[in-house]
Structure formats: C-alpha cells, structure tokens
Amino acid sequence: MLHYRDGDSAAFARLYARHKGPLYRYLLRQCGPVVAEELFQEVWLKLIAARAGYTVQAKFTTWLYRIAHNRLVDHYRASARGLPLSYAEDCPEWSTIPGPESAQPEVCDDRQRQTERLLALLAELPEAQREAVLLKEEAGLSLEEIAQATGTGRETVKSRLRYALARLRQGLAGAL
C-alpha cells in the first residue's frame, strides 16, 4: 500500500489480487451477491481514495477489513431490519439460540455435501458471529485483529467465535 501511495499502480494490482477473493467472500456470505458486489466496489474505492493519506498504523489486512466492516454495518443500518441484535456487546441470544434444525449427522455423507452444509450453517449464524468466523477463516485475522477490524473488545470477539464454532460443530456433528 505504501508503494501504491507513492504512485506505483502495479503495487495496487498485486494488493488487489491478494485480497480480492477473501474480501469478496467475506461480503458475499453476509449479504448476497448483488449487495456484496456493491459493497466490494465501495470498499476498494474508499481505499483508493485514502491512498494519499495512508500511514502504517495497523496491518493492512486489518485496515482493509475495518473499512469493509464499517461499510457492512452502514448497509445493515440502512436496511429495514437495522443493525442486527447480534452486534450488541452483551447479546443475550448467543447462548439461547437453538441449533439449526437440519443439523442431522446423516445428511453430511460426503465432502461436497459437508461444505454445502457448512455454508448453510454459516448463513444461519447470527451476523456478528458469522463475521467473526469469516474474518478468522477468510482474512486470517487473529483475535486482536478481529477486535480492531470490528471495533469491539477482544473478549467479545472471543465469545462470538466460541459460540459460532460450537454451533457449527453441532450442525456438522458426525460429519467431522
């Protein structure tokens, strides 16, 4: 990003090639392909616009997903549903939300069906928990980096991840 700031457009191309897939999937699995494309473009354009004033304050990936997270939250707020309850720091539904009804071990009999099942389970997770999983698996961020990117505390991220993994394991029980 520093090279791109200094006028090297090829550096941006390399940066984009490295991060476009994970970022696109991060957005796609949270809001569908149409909105994901729109948000994906907005995130990159915002990054391009911020080129001149870019300084190294955090890992680039953290900064990129911070932009993406903020844009996603704006999208939620602008929607009729508003910001999902799961983004609250003390979300009460974390421990009370029942596991997916279709979480039957016999369904996951092969690898492809397991991945399809995993995607379905991800889609059924509360938004905040799903985002934490995606940031961990797609972007490869650590707990601290997820906390920075989402603007929440480390412990909150830890709780979201713990509950998300538990639900995924429960849904895939017998298949893993």
């Binding site: 457009s9 476009k20 616009a49």
Partner: protein
C-alpha cells in the same frame, strides 16, 4: 469433561471451510477497480497532438481578438475624426463662395499663419487621396507616408477667384478631390512627389521661389505662377516685391 486445547480453533472445521469452492469477484468488477486505482495514481494522459493546437489557438484567441479590436477601434476613431472634418466642409465651402477675393489682402498676419497651419493639416488627408474617393477605403493609411499633393496641381483645380479667399486649402482640396480621378494613379503620385520635392527646395529661400514663379510665368503657366505667388505671399507677407513679382500673386 474434555475440551479442545484451543476452543477458538477447530482444524477440521477450518479444513472443511477451505474445501468450499473459492468464489471470486466478477471480471468486470476487477477491471473497474483496477482502472479506478490507475486513474488515481497516473496523471491524465496528454491530449492527442491533433487536439493540442486547438487548445493553444483557443488560448490565444482572446488576446488576438482584443488586439484586433484595439487596432480597428483606433482606425475607426481616426476615420471618424477625418470624416468629422469633412462633414464641416459644406459650410466652409459656402463661406468660401461668399468671401471676396480681396479678403486675402485684408488678412492679418495671424490669420495668414492660421491659414498656413491649416495647410499643414491639409497634407495628411490629401495623402489619403491615393485611395478611392470614399474616405472609408483606407482608414489605416499613415498620413506621413503618403506623398503630398503638389501645390501646382491644387492650383489647377482651384478656381482663381476662390484661391484668394483666404480659406484653408485643405478644405478645398478635400472637396475637389473627386473631380481629378486621373491623378490617383501611382505614376502621377511619383511625379507629383518629385515636383513637390523640387518646390520644397526652391521654397527654402524667397529669391529662388520668386525665380521659380518668374520661370513659370515665362513658360506661360500663369495659373501655376499665380498660385505660387499666392503661396509666396502667405509665407512671406512682408517681403518687398517688385511690380513684376507682385503681379504673380494677384489673380
């Protein structure tokens, strides 16, 4: 109760997630973003060579138009001044026809000098006679560069009775110019200029001027001699003249 060593990481779940087909953004989106990034960094590409001169000419168009406007304005102002003087000519002509020939003799020296200065003004407009009769034809002709119309030519066109009226020759010259179109060609102008130069030389001294007048009279060119005589009297009103010389100044 056994718990995984790291409750926040499940390797089997991670491996299953990585097995999901990797969806990528569409190609058009890639191109759009990369183009935006490139545009942000690189300066706007220079215009094609065919377009650049147009911009340059457009940049110079305003100063050029201003300069042309100034030049035209100056020309028009000068033209208006000249035509303003011409506009007063009919009244002067009327005054000229009512004036008696003896008024020249009654003129005070100051009036004579005024007439002389009027003659001085007469030369610039007379120079424009090289152009067609309409004064609009050559508004930009510098008066000093054009040859003055010789006095002898002017005298030929002057009515002998009116010549001694004391009116400035310039007015008369302006009004009588259309009557002599054959004098407007270049050859005539060159010979007239040479003649005028010769006269300018003999006018330097009253003796040579008088000799020239006498020479004209001997050649039978009485009108020219009379005109020169009148001109001589304007220049040297107090010069003692012999009877023969004095006759040349009389109509």
């Amino acid at each position: 109760m056994s718990e995984p060593s790291n409750p926040l990481h499940d390797e089997r779940l991670a491996a299953l997630y990585r097995a999901i087909p990797q969806v990528e953004p569409p190609e058009w989106l890639d191109q759009q973003i990369l183009r935006a990034a490139k545009t942000q960094v690189e300066p706007v590409s220079p215009l094609p060579a065919a377009v650049r001169p147009k911009r340059r000419s457009a940049r110079w168009a305003v100063p050029l138009a201003l300069a042309a406007t100034v030049v035209l304005s100056v020309g028009i102002v000068r033209l208006v001044r000249e035509s303003g003087e011409l506009a007063t000519a009919p009244s002067l002509e009327a005054a000229k026809t009512t004036a008696s020939p003896a008024s020249q003799a009654d003129m005070a020296p100051s009036e004579v000098s005024q007439a002389k200065s009027a003659e001085g003004y007469a030369h610039p407009p007379a120079a424009s006679a090289t152009a067609p009769a309409t004064p609009m034809a050559s508004p930009m002709t510098p008066p000093a560069l054009a040859p003055p119309v010789p006095l002898a030519e002017r005298a030929q066109s002057v009515d002998p009775k009116a010549a001694g009226s004391g009116q400035p020759p310039f007015r008369f010259q302006q009004l009588t110019r259309p009557e002599k179109p054959e004098k407007l060609n270049g050859t005539t102008n060159h010979s007239a200029k040479a003649l005028a130069d010769d006269k300018a030389e003999f006018r330097n001294s009253p003796e040579s001027w008088l000799r020239e007048i006498a020479k004209l009279r001997r050649q039978g060119e009485t009108l020219k001699a009379q005109a020169e005589g009148l001109e001589f009297q304007r220049h040297y009103p107090n010069y003692p003249l012999e009877p023969s010389d004095a006759d040349s100044g009389k109509p």
